[in-house]
């Protein structure tokens, strides 16, 4: 049995496998014992109630899916009265994903959810910033830094900034989050995409565009995990397209200290417990004593025959 623990700032997780926000809920406890996971991450909640987007909210594309669920939310009260007590029955730390419309609202909401039973806050900054023309916070280093800074002074809980693959400034955004006091980065959220039914000419989502997730997203988000792990000192949590043990290993090798599994749980609800078991076997098969021994060990391609230089 390899040592599967991993540390994300002040938190020690029994293993690096956890769910991605929005692809996990209390209902999964009927499928397997949720305590086999490294952490529990809630669907993003907002302070007030929200209905979410029109249907259809999901559609499938080649090897992946799009969603425009939106953030239906039962609000802060419901979370504190129902969700927190539910997860109190488990040892795995509870991470609450939150969203808000302004940096200030983020800070006040962070304070409100800083209660016993909540171990960390994941900051879903992929939502529109109403103070920046509706551009998501995660698109730019400035607004990202601002949100984290304000939240940092409002709570003592670890803050995990969840980055977006839609920005062209991944590294700058990551560094801004770190500088502002984030304790970890999650790379990444879904990528903006569209699907059209060629037969009917209709867009397939009620909200027109939606977020791309699943195996096909991996090369993009794995690249972000790689870029961020090299650019910041805080831990990176990989997320995007993870379905197999090789996917997990690739993120760890790229430098992630833990991973989140999203869409794969929809296709096979027992994906996460399987990955925990397989991770143990994979480390043993490589003669590695711990997850730590694998993190960030990426090597460059060795075939690299130097090519003829024209210029």
């Amino acid at each position: 049995m390899a040592d599967l623990t991993t540390t994300i700032g002040s938190l020690t997780l029994k293993n690096p496998i956890m769910p991605a926000s929005g692809t996990f809920s209390e209902e999964l406890s009927e499928v397997f014992d949720l305590d086999c996971l490294g952490a529990h991450v809630t669907k993003t909640i907002t302070r007030g109630k929200r209905a979410g987007n029109p249907i259809p909210r999901v559609c499938e594309v080649d090897g992946a899916m799009l969603n425009s669920i939106g953030i239906p939310s039962k609000g802060a009260d419901w979370f504190l009265k129902n969700t927190v007590p539910f997860y109190a029955a488990y040892n795995a730390p509870l991470v609450v994903s939150i969203s808000a419309n302004t940096a200030d609202e983020f800070a006040r909401f962070a304070e409100e959810v800083s209660v016993p039973g909540v171990a960390a806050i994941e900051v879903n900054i992929s939502c529109p910033n109403i103070e920046d023309d509706g551009k998501a916070f995660a698109m730019r280093p400035g607004p990202t830094g601002e949100v984290i800074r304000r939240m940092r002074s409002a709570t003592n809980l670890p803050l995990w900034a969840k980055l977006s693959p839609n920005t062209g400034d991944v590294v700058e955004v990551a560094q801004a989050a770190e500088a502002a006091g984030a304790d970890a980065l999650v790379t990444a959220n879904t990528m903006l995409a569209i699907a059209i039914d060629a037969r009917t000419g209709r867009v397939k989502l009620g909200n027109i565009m939606g977020g791309f997730s699943g195996p096909s997203l991996k090369p993009i988000t794995l690249r972000m995990a790689y870029q961020c792990a090299r650019a910041v000192a805080i831990p990176v949590i990989g997320c995007g397209g993870i379905a197999t043990i090789d996917d997990v290993l690739e993120y760890l090798i790229a430098g992630a200290r833990a991973v989140q599994v999203g869409t794969a749980t929809f296709i096979s609800p027992t994906t996460m417990p399987r990955l925990v078991r397989e991770l143990d076997h994979a480390l043993e098969a490589r003669g590695l004593a711990s997850v730590d021994a694998l993190v960030g060990t990426v090597k460059h391609a060795d075939e690299a025959i130097s090519l003829a230089e024209y210029a």
Binding site: S25, G52, I55, V58, A64, P269
Partner: protein, 254 residues
């Protein structure tokens, strides 16, 4: 997979050997099926399918389905001996309230599959059952004989015969309510029939249930993909078809 047959030109019956652990099913519940992949088609999501019949003692589970697109087309390629990866039973099935003695089942298209195990349960409870089976043509009226074998009075209507229209059916159903004392409606497979039953039900004070469909991703309640709006005391609420349904109170559907 034990067998896989065409029931008619559009529907196929898929018979599985399944472990007893998944066979504590309620009529109206569904399974989430992982469809096979080929070079030409890679269905990504699982596909929800109502239970057509289940038999725990015999370790048997059946689905009746129509090839609608790539997922069901891929299913149709399976041959006996193949394995099929299924998750379930899922969702909330039909609930027969003790006061309902003379239920009316109104099914159209695939709805005939969904209502089949309910008809059987009605028969087992000795209820006096009436069923209206609607389809495009007689050939597609799959479960009528099955319903009859459960002692149901079966009325078939088809588009081809021109007797499946709203006017005809509404009159037919109101007649049944008056003559047979129908006291509950169960329906599946047509939004139009559902609306009609809501109206007749409201008029005559008859309760009932409807099995709904909705595009799903997770099938177990995590993703909020499959919501629809329902009327509750508190006002309109979104409920998950995979979790709070697929069977809902007929009058609550918006």
């Amino acid at each position: 997979m034990k067998s896989h047959q065409w029931v008619n030109g559009e529907y196929r019956l898929l018979e599985l050997s399944a472990p007893a652990s998944v066979l504590d099913c309620q009529p109206g519940q569904f399974f989430h099926l992982l469809c096979p992949t080929s070079k030409l088609s890679q269905p990504f999501f699982r596909r929800p399918m109502s239970i057509y019949s289940f038999d725990k003692a015999a370790g048997e589970l059946c689905f009746l389905y129509k090839v609608a697109g790539i997922g069901t087309a891929a299913l149709a390629e399976l041959v006996p001996g193949n394995f099929l990866n299924i998750v379930g039973p899922l969702g909330r099935g039909f609930e027969l309230c003790p006061e309902w003695q003379r239920p009316l089942l109104v099914a159209r298209g695939v709805g005939l599959a969904t209502l089949a195990p309910l008809a059987r349960q009605c028969a087992e409870r000795g209820l006096s059952l009436t069923a209206i089976c609607s389809a495009r043509s007689r050939e597609l009226l799959m479960s009528a004989d099955l319903f009859r074998s459960y002692g149901a009075k079966v009325i078939t209507v088809t588009d081809a015969e021109g007797n499946s229209g709203a006017g005809n059916l509404a009159a037919l159903i109101e007649n049944l309510v008056r003559e047979r004392g129908i006291d509950a409606f169960f329906t599946c497979g047509s939004a139009r029939l559902m609306r009609m039953l809501q109206q007749i039900g409201a008029r005559y004070g008859i309760g009932g249930q409807v099995a709904l469909e909705q595009q799903m991703a997770c099938g177990i309640g995590m993703c909020q993909a499959c919501v629809r709006p329902f009327r509750r005391e508190s006002g309109a609420v979104n409920l998950r078809v995979c979790r709070e349904g697929p069977v809902f109170n007929l009058q609550e559907v918006l």
